[in-house]
């Protein structure tokens, strides 16, 4: 695949048409949890509820195991996956604490001190990645 201009940004998944196509059923599952009646059905029987959404086996596993970063890698978008998190009582900031691997407290502390600096965070080479 041709490299995209934003592929060099580290620690970032741009939700573009390719991701949107890949994640369609996963995202539609997540957004269904916006409504209480659907949350109730999902929480009663996760496997049965997921049967209605023809997502890939990997995506389904990632949902069941709440692998937040993998969900994004497989086409999930944060505004959708955050509905699954909210169902579990995890807000945006706590979800970020998990996705960054920092943990909730150090993440919150970093934000209080002005957030993650742009310095050293512009290009994958700065993260030792290709």
């Amino acid at each position: 695949m041709t490299e995209k201009e934003y592929d060099k940004i580290p620690g970032t998944i741009v939700f573009d048409a390719d991701k949107s196509r890949e994640g369609y059923h996963l995202n539609q599952f997540c957004i269904s949890l916006r409504l209480q009646k659907n949350r109730d059905a999902f929480n009663k029987n996760e496997e049965a509820y997921l049967d209605a959404y023809p997502m890939s086996k990997e995506q389904r596993e990632a949902v069941l195991k709440r692998e937040w970063n993998l969900l994004l890698e497989l086409g999930g978008n944060i505004y959708y996956t955050s509905k699954l998190a909210a169902n579990d009582g995890i807000n945006f900031q706590n979800l970020a604490g998990r996705m960054t691997g920092m943990g909730v407290d150090s993440y919150r502390e970093m934000m209080l001190k002005g957030g993650r600096s742009i310095e050293g965070n512009r290009d994958k080479s700065e993260w030792g990645e290709d």
Partner: protein, 283 residues
Amino acid sequence: MAKIMAGVGCSHVPAIGVAMDTGITHEEYWRPVFEGFKKSREWMKKQNPDVIFLVYNDHCTAFDARCIPTFALGCGAEFQPADEGWGPRPVPTVKNHQKMASHIAQSLVLHEFDITIMNEMEVDHGLTVPLSVMFGDIKRNDEWPALVIPLCVNVVQYPAPTGNRCYNLGKAIRRAIESYEEDLNVIIFGTGGMSHQLQYKRAGLINSDWDKRFLDLMTMDPVGASQITHLEYLRETGSEGIEMVMWLIMRGALNENVTEVHRHYHVPASNTAVGHIILENNA
């Protein structure tokens, strides 16, 4: 004739709405965020707008992945605050100036901005949080002090419309509003931003220097701001910082020369840099 008096740029962080709805705005964490809107609320009272044209983005509430319009104009009579997964915000139903919205829709299409017309639409925090921060606490059984015409912009699936397109759409919106026959005071809001990344391993990115330059450009060099590329937004301001293209719609609807009457910048509100500016059209 209707006239655009001023523009407001403002973040729409959901946690700001939660802080107001749960009455914790006086707490140490939130006080500095809300301090910066004190003057704005006084200013809003003085302006007493009839209509707010509010540019915002929906967060997969009215539009999930089934349908992703780049620009959608609210033309229905009213819009209910949506349940985003934790119950609807306890704020009033948003009422439209329906006749003016239809006039704008028609004018935009005839000037080659082919927007989507929404006659049924729920509105999420993207729209209600800016109203709350600018008007203060308005309870569910009260009424918003102004009518609201919502314009919803896709910034969730890449690519968002370019800054240049947004700036030019702002000009077309102004032409539409100012060709409406009724004498109405209109204020346009551009919302979202500023720097923030909500997702993946770089979450928490904040770029205050960049944000402050963007605020400077809003006042002094909007054409320069309209040329900022998507790559720059994504890299320098985080994957969700690209919401700032919506401020350019607001800015395009103002004179080239404006007076900056207020500015506020604070980090953090949850994961986000809060930015706010008020620009008045010079008479």
